[in-house]
Symmetry: C2
Subunit: 447 residues, 2 copies
């Protein structure tokens, strides 16, 4: 093993995480629907030995369609295609526990794990917003607390379904005419507050046992959920101090939940903006901010804060009397992050929109490759991160720049792999294959 190693996840996002990236002359504005564009990004990340790539998602229109590419290929489908185009990199799909049935989603995630030889991960989200709810027969979103309760039971059902086939169930004995041992495939007979699911799953246990479980909610309920279920955590932390506090908080909660803190990796999002000189990097950042269309951005900000857009003045600070985190049922922790940031740095609405358009609350690392590598190492060695969720402002150029200039520095310093050691996503993250929950005999044998 050697020294503790960094982990990198590429957060795919069409032409980049910056709001206006699609408007650059070099950007393909149809990249959001392009297989080739995604294949290229996946290969760049895999060539650099990234642990994984990741697709965000929501079962509703994401923001205003006018302002930036709004349509997205559904992640399990897109990652199945990328499984064919790659050999080693992990493939993490976002899917909602509020707007899926556990049988169907557990099946699809297991399918991607089988197809990819054990490279599937699931970013578990509860999906904020009324727009999604109204696509599923509801008038508005269920309460935040209700969504997390359902998420808990969803995970209970999904993990039992994955475990409904014992690892040794398939014998494929041609002579005897027995393909699968019938008593090693078991119903789960789950009956709970949200779901009744008989099982078994109609698919053998996934190569990884369970696909890797990833989580990205940072509210109180979100962090408790993560402590119980997550193996990797995406998070938006604007400063080093906040990253450190979040990191310590999560590891403590994991321990309190009776799990091993080393088996839950914290991956803050960073937006690397690179230049040969620091000045060049800053110029790139400003060029992008000038392309943001504030009339669209203000509507989205108002939605997040639950105020009337007319109450936001581009050249003033946020109003004092905003609804509190407790009062909103949407993305609680994101609302608080944004408000705290604006207040602390006394940002005008226009400045705030610039920050959000770039990294949407994630930390921007602007500078030369050595400067960015230094910051990464500093976070990694000072209790702020186990690795990073890399969110380039512009794609593919931003990931090409990061992998060709920053990654080699970190490899040279012995902080990041130069070859994949294993074949599965769990191998890359150094996480164990879970024991079978329905199979105490196998658990004993394994321990």
């Amino acid at each position: 093993m050697g020294a503790r190693q960094l982990h990198f996840n590429l957060f795919l996002h069409d032409t980049g995480h910056h709001e206006a990236s699609w408007r650059l002359p070099s950007s393909d504005p149809h990249a959001n629907l392009s297989l080739e564009a995604h294949q290229h990004l996946a290969r760049v990340a895999e060539d650099a030995k990234f642990d994984s790539l990741f697709l965000a998602d929501s079962p509703a229109m994401f923001g205003e369609p006018g302002r930036r590419p709004a349509g997205r290929i559904e992640p399990t489908v897109l990652l199945a295609a990328l499984a064919v185009s790659t050999q080693r990199i992990g493939l993490i799909a976002t899917a909602s526990t509020s707007y899926n049935e556990p049988f169907n989603l557990a099946r699809r995630l297991a399918s991607v794990d089988h197809l990819s030889g054990g490279r599937a991960g699931w970013n578990i989200v509860t999906t904020a917003g009324d727009a999604a709810a109204r696509n599923f027969g509801l008038e508005g979103q269920p309460l935040h607390k209700t969504r997390y309760e359902r998420a808990d039971e969803f995970l209970d059902v999904a993990t039992k379904l994955w475990d409904s086939w014992a690892d040794d169930a398939v014998v494929a004995d041609k002579e005897a005419g027995v393909h699968t041992l019938r008593d090693r495939v078991r119903p789960i007979s789950h009956s709970g507050a949200y779901f009744s699911v008989e099982g078994p799953l109609n698919l053998a246990r996934p190569p990884q046992g369970h696909p890797l479980l990833v989580q990205a909610g940072s509210s109180e309920d979100g962090k408790e959920f993560a402590a119980r279920w997550a193996e990797a955590i995406f998070t938006a932390q604007p400063t080093l101090a906040e990253s450190q506090a979040f990191y310590a908080d999560i590891k403590r909660r994991v321990l309190a939940a009776g799990r091993n803190p080393d088996h839950v990796l914290v991956l803050p999002g960073i937006v690397p903006v690179l230049g040969e000189t620091e000045a060049e990097a800053r110029e790139l950042e400003e060029e992008l901010d000038r392309l943001i269309a504030p009339e669209y951005a203000i509507v989205q900000l108002a939605q997040l804060l639950r105020v009337d857009p007319d109450r936001l003045d581009l050249d003033a600070e946020l109003p004092d009397d905003l609804p509190s985190e407790e009062a909103i049922e949407g993305a609680k922790s994101r609302r608080t992050l944004v408000v705290d940031w604006a207040r602390r740095d006394r940002l005008t609405v226009r400045e705030l929109i610039g920050k959000l358009g770039g990294g949407r609350g994630h930390r921007t690392f602007t500078g030369t490759p050595v400067q960015v590598a230094d910051t990464i190492q500093h976070y990694f060695e000072n209790g702020a991160a186990d690795g990073f969720n890399i969110m380039p402002a512009v794609l593919p150029s931003g990931i090409e720049a990061f992998t060709s200039s920053v990654v080699p520095i970190l490899q040279e310093r012995g902080l990041f792999r130069t070859e994949y050691a294993g074949t599965t996503l769990r191998d890359h993250y150094g996480l164990p294959r879970p024991a079978n929950r329905l199979d105490p005999a196998a658990e004993e044998a394994a321990s």
Copy 2:
């Protein structure tokens, strides 16, 4: 165009449609979960210029896990992977209207259509059986009639979601900062007996307008549903006369529903069993039947007929007092097909199991390549079929034999293409791209 052309669909099924195919020495008993096995089959079919390939599915265990490979990769996921491995062939996924939400399924099918450049199809099924129901919070399956009512509304919602983006919605105007015309992306505001869906879909209109709509239910309700929605129909017909009757019946119903009968293709399933001589072909058939394990098969037959397995005697005919089609809520038309066949040919239960293990009610065409080509041509030219659903008893050998020996004969006779003329699945089947249901202006311009 020239003369009317045959259409071929390859019905994928692990190591073959014969119950016992996995037990042959040459079979890979893990083919059901193998990407490579599916890629090979897809390429063989594409090299032969097949219109499409197809995956069956159910959200529950399919039959007894002991007896044959029971696990299946979920079809939209598997076909997304095959989209990358092929260029032209159509990709038809089975998905249930009873156990999906229209928003999620419409999204995934549209995703496959985008990824594949317009090659997606949907085999719409209502899913018979209590096992599936019990994976979704129900005690048993909803009534047959209820399932078809829900299917009708499901199609109404799905087609509106696909049409929620006008074809000209995306303008990608970098200069103006307008990616999509906001008034060309419209909510559907559907509110019905089974679904309330606000929309719009979070994905541009699929390349084909709608993925190709395929259907396979043959009960009275099933045929009426097909007449309203289907563009291609899979069906199991054991004789020429029954195929002709079904064909005429469907075309009549389509006309009565106000649609063009040429825009609904009837594709009976056939199991080609080929030999250099007729005797060799018959030998292959018998070898396979000897491998069937009757103790498993009898349980499945009893389930279909809704009788106690103890009442079925392997060496006697079926009991006289079976429940009628009206009395069962599962796969009505399949039950009737099986009973009629057994009664007409006075089959013992053992003989019936042999027939079902081979083609599961579909017609077996056994003989030399010329004999099989002759039968295909005879069906095609005598009002029994617009093409065929090819269901080889053994895979991949059965499709390799069919494409290398039967297809060239039909190509020589001018009945089947030697090159793809178009790029989409609709192009291959000669079916029009549907007008946008929410966009009367565009419809007028197109007509």
